[in-house]
Symmetry: C2
Subunit: 414 residues, 2 copies
């Protein structure tokens, strides 16, 4: 590795290590996403033409158009999407990230997270709720619509007003503590979600007392926060997006600044290689399936949530979360082995995010494409598994395909 | 082991496995503790004469007498205690358990936990607060008095009213979930305390809305719950006491039904051996000390909290809580090794309380004095360390002394 690359990588990792993400508010996508339009449906992964999206991810995009009122029927939505009257773009192109299919439309509320160190902003839509069927898992029907409406009419305004009242909530201490409580901040947010709730509740109560919020709004919000462990994943993703963007664009760096996938391909971006996506077919996922489902039912629908792994959480912090084995299979030994391997492909360690089982060693940060290729080890990611009939059907541990990293190394050398 | 012992032990372990502890209320000690009087100070450990208590535990007893208004000065309190005008009795003799010195006086509020399976009731006083100086660590001054008054005037009535409103809170699901979130339910209750708060908050808000509680009461209670991770230890101890008492008194059983210690000795009770305490000098503690303190400053002041270890939590569940190493020292390997050894001295495994790192194996329950002696392994317990000048000065892992178990085996054989 040249001295210039080493210095560049050091700068990138320093940005990750010093990032100070603050959840500053909730806004409608149209009001906060750069370049967003009312006729755009955002989805996860590297960009594709609409025709290239198939099955679940295509269904989710159509569902998003219907939810937004851009068409009255699936047929009309598809026609408009094909004609380009409704644009399909990626979340990453508009300063946000999305879970699984990642559907984000103009009116949808998003968490807004600002990295106080760099000023970069990341956004992410809300977790829909506990049902297996969600828009982001390719489902769109009456029940899914109702869940989205609840988020829009209750969760978003209540949390938005509360954040306005407190002036933002620092996420770093929450992530730091949650890692000592069995969370990986991807497939387990069991601790981080109540820790976030603890920060919100006193202000929420004051807003009820002053008449700004109703008792029903408060009760429903608390119930959702209590029932949906996954709530915190979304601010965590927005934080990772802000951090990743602050670490992007450092000339000469071989550090990965984004990982994502759509229904066709996995892709990475590299800090020193501009906005180009290095793509490759999906590598296998090792998962555990809900009763009645098997790997034959698996259908990729995309996923930007692996931005958390890109920033050292999720799969790169899985030894903080042995309880994961109940949800996504595997064994503690496998978790330890996989997590330890991540230190061989990363440039540094996080000063705040630590893994108790590793004697409070910092999580590995700064995935270096050269080390990945040299070591023959690719990043691992925890994720929910979508099914071919829509809906979540399990959870598992995904490996990034080596070809992305090889292509990036070629580009660096080329 | 005889067939009769085996059957008896099976019955004991079945009581532990089926226990269903419910936090049913908060009451003043005088109103709920069997045999309690207004002139009694309860303390932890097996019984001693007042003259036999020294240093911190004696100071705590005197502090309890002063707090209760049984004397106007330390000198007067000591005189009355020596004369027997103020009685010193143990918590275990009055259906409760206490942390460290375990001071419980007539007016103090206690958590009341009923085992719905057996009907047994256990009680435990409240956690005083975050200061290093607490009555139960041998300190009694203006600040300690204020903390106790806050518990008496705010925490107890608010939580009591809330429990009355909801009709009790099941503790088993909280303990079960907290074990998947890095708690051992002794030195770590970081998850269990917010999980309990989640159960309390909706009802608390309703009581505020109906005018039963004031906003200030609610705010102060939430703040205490948020700042004091140790809150849940106390209902957990009351649950263990109820469970342990349900498992006590089974003829022929060689299973331990209580462990405790005072400033002089460690002691155990055995289910089939009546109310006799088998005592021995304290074994060493391996600890980590707060800045400015060392093991030279350690001073035992008693502790009933090891009732949790007796029921399979704390030291017997420490592999659920690798974060403990930050607080009490040691290493993950040591934690795993110690916890695995506990399976060799116990009769069964808990069906609900599971350790993720052990592939969700149930915590070991039913410490068998014969196995302890045969294996040469004694139970391990996590605990806070008191200092000779009063106050907490660290935390560590304590081993029970073998002599207690040898004496119990002799009694079984005798």
């Amino acid at each position: 590795m040249s001295g210039a690359t080493s210095t560049a990588n050091e700068r990138v990792v320093e940005r990750i290590r010093t990032a100070d993400p603050v959840l500053v508010g909730v806004e409608r996508a149209i009001d906060t996403l750069p370049g967003m339009t009312t006729e755009t449906v955002l989805t996860s992964g590297p960009p594709l033409e609409f025709d290239e999206y198939d099955s679940g991810q295509a269904g989710a995009i159509v569902g998003g158009a219907l939810y937004e009122g851009l068409a009255d029927s699936r047929a009309e939505a598809i026609e408009k999407l094909k004609a380009g009257d409704i644009a399909v773009r990626t979340c990453h192109e508009h300063g946000c990230v999305g879970s699984i299919a990642g559907i984000t439309t103009a009116s949808m509320p998003v968490f807004v997270v600002e990295d106080a160190a760099s000023g970069e902003v990341g956004r992410c839509h809300f977790y829909e709720g506990g049902s297996r069927h969600r828009l982001n898992y390719g489902s769109y029907n009456e029940a899914v619509h109702e869940q989205l409406t609840f988020i829009d009419e209750v969760m978003a305004p209540v949390i938005g007003a509360t954040l306005d009242h407190v002036g933002g909530i620092e996420l770093r201490p929450i992530v730091q503590e949650a890692l000592t409580m069995g969370d990986d901040m991807h497939s387990r947010n069991h601790a981080a979600t109540p820790l976030l709730a603890q920060e919100l509740i006193p202000a929420m109560l004051n807003l009820e007392r002053s008449g700004t919020l109703t008792p029903t709004q408060v009760d429903q919000t608390l119930e959702h926060l209590r029932n949906c462990h996954y709530v915190f994943l979304r601010p965590a993703m927005a934080a990772s997006k802000a951090t990743a963007d602050s670490a992007h664009g450092i000339d000469g760096s071989s550090i990965v600044s984004a990982m994502t996938f759509n229904c066709q391909e996995f892709a990475i971006r590299v800090s020193g290689l501009g906005d180009r996506w290095f793509r490759a077919p999906m590598a296998p996922i090792e998962g555990k399936y809900f009763d009645g489902f098997s790997e034959d039912d698996l259908e990729y629908m995309g996923g930007d949530s692996v931005i958390n792994a890109t920033m050292g959480l999720g799969g790169l912090a899985q030894a903080a979360a042995f309880s994961l084995i109940e949800y996504q299979g595997g064994s503690p030994d496998q978790i330890v082995e996989r997590n330890e391997a991540m230190y061989r492909i990363t440039h540094g360690e996080h000063p705040y995010y630590e893994i108790p089982y590793f004697q409070f060693r910092g999580v590995p940060v700064g995935i270096d494409v050269r080390r990945v290729v040299d070591e023959g080890v690719t990043p691992v990611m925890n994720m929910g598994i979508p099914g071919s009939q829509g809906g979540q059907i399990g959870a598992g541990c995904l490996e990034a395909p080596m070809a992305c990293f090889e292509a990036a190394v070629d580009a660096l050398d080329g």
